[in-house]
């Protein structure tokens, strides 16, 4: 299953609902282009909802890091929402869990943006 992405606005925050796999190839490209597109439009408060992301590989992890860094370098904020256990565990073992701002409640996550 490839990755699907859709965006919605909630109180000035762009929530990106992702589903499927973030892996080398299509999934990583979709994520990269989605984040770049949002930033180019000035939408710099980005919440990636990973609740329906059932698989991520090292390329996908790299893409999350890239998205986080790109947003930060452009004065934006990128946070993660609703990690599945698999993604949570991967971010733990790669020591990235504490690097990302990870939320498990959408309303709280939206309010947390500056």
């Amino acid at each position: 299953m490839t990755m699907k992405s859709s965006t919605r606005q909630v109180d000035g925050v762009t929530i990106v609902d992702l589903s499927g796999r973030i892996t080398l190839g299509e999934g990583s490209v979709v994520l990269r282009e989605t984040v770049r597109d949002l930033l180019s439009k000035g939408q710099k408060k980005i919440l990636l909802n990973l609740g329906d992301v059932n698989y991520i590989d090292s390329s996908g992890i790299g893409e999350l890091v890239s998205a986080f860094t790109t947003a930060k370098n452009q004065g934006g904020e990128l946070k993660l929402l609703n990690l599945t256990k698999k993604v949570h565990d991967l971010l733990q073992i790669t020591k990235l869990y504490t690097v990302f701002d990870v939320k498990d409640d959408e309303a709280t996550a939206v309010k947390s943006f500056k």
């Binding site: 090292s58 893409e63 890091v65 698999k86 991967l90 790669t94 690097v99």
Partner: protein, 148 residues
């Protein structure tokens, strides 16, 4: 139980990466691993296949990837070979080092080592052989990595 062995010769394509992952998941299920272990094994094989296709063979259509599975009563043994320049494992940076934490690549071998019980990287002038072993019933006495 007699050993079951199967091997594949694959093109250096992204499709090979997906096929290797799927085959590994199927083999792990047949070997009796639970869902979490199946995920780890299939992901390790995916990362190994990515290394072989991208970094080893560099998508060269003239170069092949070979993937072999052997299931014994004790172990699932997976060997993947490429025809690249040979991977020098000693030069792989630690992805957990503070300077490397925010890099966008370089976590594949780390994940393989995290998910498998034994990992051997054998580079040569004709390519790299990556051997991964997962113990069927687990064995706490075993180390994460075999001696080089």
């Amino acid at each position: 139980m007699a050993a079951d062995r199967v091997s594949y010769t694959l093109d250096s394509t992204l499709e090979t990466v997906n096929n290797a992952e799927e085959t590994a998941g199927r083999m792990a299920a047949e070997a009796g691993f639970d869902d979490e272990e199946i995920m780890k094994i299939s992901m390790a094989v995916r990362e190994a296949a990515v290394n072989a296709v991208l970094h080893g063979n560099a998508y060269d259509p003239s170069k092949k990837v070979t993937l072999a599975f052997e299931c014994t009563a004790q172990d699932l043994i997976i060997v993947i070979r490429d025809q690249g320049k040979g991977l020098d494992a000693s030069k792989i940076p630690d992805p957990l080092a503070p300077d490397n934490l925010m890099k966008t690549s370089g976590r594949g071998i780390f994940l393989i080592r995290s998910f498998m019980d034994v990992v051997e990287i054998n580079p040569s002038q004709t390519g790299t052989e990556l051997k991964m072993i997962k113990h069927v019933h687990g064995n706490p006495a075993d180390s994460k990595e075999a001696p080089q």
